[in-house]
Every structure is written in C-alpha cells, then in structure tokens.
C-alpha cells in the first residue's frame, strides 16, 4: 500500500463501450491521466509520467487506482444475475466536490423538491425512520428500510407507489441504490453512482444500472436517469460550502440526514479528505 487513503482507492475513469481508438485524456485527483487500449486489447491507464496504473474493468467501466489498491474493487453480485439489463448511462460533468455528488445521491429528502412529480411530490415530503450503520465487517455504509412515496419510481412504474430503498457506500466516491423493482416484486433494481474526482470541486458522474425491465427502450432508460441527474446538477453546483464539511459547523443535520452523517463519519474514520472541508467555516 502507498498508505495514502485517497490514492489507494479505485476510481472510474471511462466507459469501456465508449473508449475509442484514440483513448481518453482526463484527470484524476487533480492529476492528468490517459486511458487507452493496450496492445493486448485491454484498457490501460497511465499517469503524467507514463507510469502504468492498476486497471480493472467491471460494471461497464474502466477503474484505476493511482496508488496501490488497499482492497479489490467492491462487489455488486446483481451485475451477474441472469435477466438483468446492464445500462451504461453515460457521463455528467458537475462543478462540485465528488463527495457532495455522493452525498446528494444518498439524500432522499430532496426528491419532492428537485425531482418533482418523478421521484417525489408534495405533500409526501416526510422521510420516515430508517436504519443506518457502518458495517465494520465490510467497511461500508448501509442505510436500510428507507421508504418514500414516489409518483414515478422508475421508467417501468405505471403510477405512484411507496418505494423501499437501501443505500450502500462501498467506496468513498461510489454509492449504490437498491430500490423496489415494480415488475418483479422481491427483487431490487440497482442504480449506482460512480464518481470520478477530477479536482476537489469538479467531478464526472457515471451512473450505471442493473435492472429487471424488459419493456422500456434503452434510450428511455438512459433518458430517465439523465433527466434526474441533470436536475441534481443545478442544485449541486450551487451548494455552499462547496466542499463536503466533515465538521457539522453551521449545518443543522436532522433525522433525514442520518445517511449523510454516517457517510461523513465513515470518510473521517478512513482519513479520506479529497473534496472535504475539515474545519467548519
């Protein structure tokens, strides 16, 4: 291990399906990197000095680690479940801290106000009690038993339903959402947010999904998720402070913010500070 908790993480840097013959010049943690096809026809990543970085391809994306990986890339077993559609949504660049992007994804309370008549609607604004824990055995944040009324929970939903959610943070810039699957009760749709930290206050967001939905066109599935993320972008780009505070400072977290607080506690314990504000303004 390099011993640096920021460098030793895995980060998404490209969609495998959209990596062209010319490769992709991009940035990671404030440094330039290059993603390209190697002579073995596998994606490669190198830093500004030409040093080859570790690479793994999973969930439709190319992942790299600028240090020495502290553990293998997290597992999403549903990705290998027969019958699911695996959807590469694309990329959205957002002028915000990568940690703010993850925190926003974990926040249910904003649904009725930002994603009005899609993921939420007034007067159904109350977030009920749910469970949040840092699971030490896997070193991940989990929120379970989250319930919320949604007018159109998914592209495949015919009308309003009370949706049950689980949230999981398996890496500092990754969030996984498990939600009620309208056409297949008993299963969970999986929607992820993979965040590439370009700078402390600039990131690229790569949503990815593993769904049971045989009827909706791929274009409609992608358009639905892109609509949600574009709505989020306008909020994220205007948040203050721009970095994610690891000290509550002037903020007054409430019961609805339990997942955000658990996420911040987990980042603090890991010593993960890229995109974070350490001392209250």
């Amino acid at each position: 291990m390099s011993g640096d908790p920021i460098l030793d993480e895995w980060y998404p840097v490209a969609l495998v399906s959209q990596l062209g013959p010319l490769g992709r010049d991009t940035r990671l943690l404030g440094q330039p990197i290059r993603v390209y096809w190697g002579t073995d026809h596998q994606p490669q990543v190198s830093d500004a000095n030409g040093r080859a970085l570790p690479v793994t391809c999973r969930y439709g994306h190319v992942w790299t680690c600028p240090g020495t990986p502290s553990r293998p890339l997290f597992d999403i077993p549903e990705a290998d479940q027969p019958g699911r559609r695996l959807v590469d949504v694309g990329v959205v660049r957002v002028k915000c801290s990568p940690l703010r992007a993850v925190e926003n994804f974990l926040d249910i309370a904003h649904f009725p106000f930002v994603h009005t008549d899609i993921l939420g609607a007034e007067p159904h604004t109350e977030v009920g009690r749910y469970d949040v824990q840092i699971r030490d055995e896997v070193d991940e944040v989990w929120a379970t038993k989250v319930q919320f009324y949604q007018p159109q929970a998914a592209k495949s939903a015919a009308g309003g339903i009370t949706t049950e959610y689980m949230y999981r943070v398996p890496a500092p810039t990754v969030a996984v959402l498990y939600k009620t699957c309208p056409p297949r009760p008993g299963e969970w749709d999986v929607i992820t947010l993979f965040v590439q930290p370009l700078e402390q206050d600039l990131c690229e967001v790569w949503p990815w999904m593993a769904l049971f939905d045989d009827t909706t066109s791929l274009t409609d599935l992608i358009h639905f998720q892109q609509t949600i993320f574009v709505q989020d972008r306008s909020i994220l780009e205007n948040q203050l402070p721009r970095l994610l505070p690891l000290d509550p400072g002037m903020e007054i977290p409430t019961r609805a913010d339990m997942t955000s607080i658990a996420y911040r506690r987990w980042l603090k314990r890991r010593g993960y500070s890229f995109g974070a504000q350490l001392v209250a303004a």
């Binding site: 409430t254 506690r265 603090k268 001392v279």
Partner: protein, 83 residues
C-alpha cells in the same frame, strides 16, 4: 420540552471538544452544559425540544475533525409538556 443526558465515548482527548459542544448547543438554541467524566467520557445535560435534541446527537456523532465519537448514549431525565 425534554431534558436528557448524553454520554459520549470515543477518542475525545482534543481540548477543542467541549467548547465545540457548547457552541453547537447554542447554535441549536438548546440549554445545556458539557463536562468530562473520570472515565474519559463526556457528559452533556441538555434541555429543549426533542427534535433539536435529536439534531444535537447527529451533530455530536460527527463532531470536530480532531475527535472521533464512537457512541452517543442517551438517557431521558425529564419530559415536560408545554402549552
């Protein structure tokens, strides 16, 4: 209005912690005070609306950057209905 005791355990040695707690109490409009206990835990006695006491627990569980709060134990001391 409610009155509660918080018992906070963790890596709390930083001198900044008690002043930080008292600032956070004022910020929430609660009444209360924090003190060290002989076993190294921090005790807070708080009075105010239950929702704001919940908010205090969330804030304290994160705490300042130089402190790691492992647990926040809560014990009701009084509960007074107000008109």
């Amino acid at each position: 209005m409610a009155t509660e005791q918080f018992l906070i355990a963790g890596e709390l040695r930083a001198d900044s912690f008690l002043p930080w707690i008292e600032r956070h109490i004022r910020r929430l409009g609660l009444h209360g005070a924090a003190s060290w206990r002989a076993d190294g835990q921090v005790e807070i006695i708080l009075s105010g609306p239950p929702d704001l006491i919940d908010a205090m627990e969330l804030g304290v569980s994160l705490g300042p950057i130089d402190v790691w709060v492992e647990t926040v134990g809560r014990r009701p001391l009084a509960n007074t209905e107000t008109a």
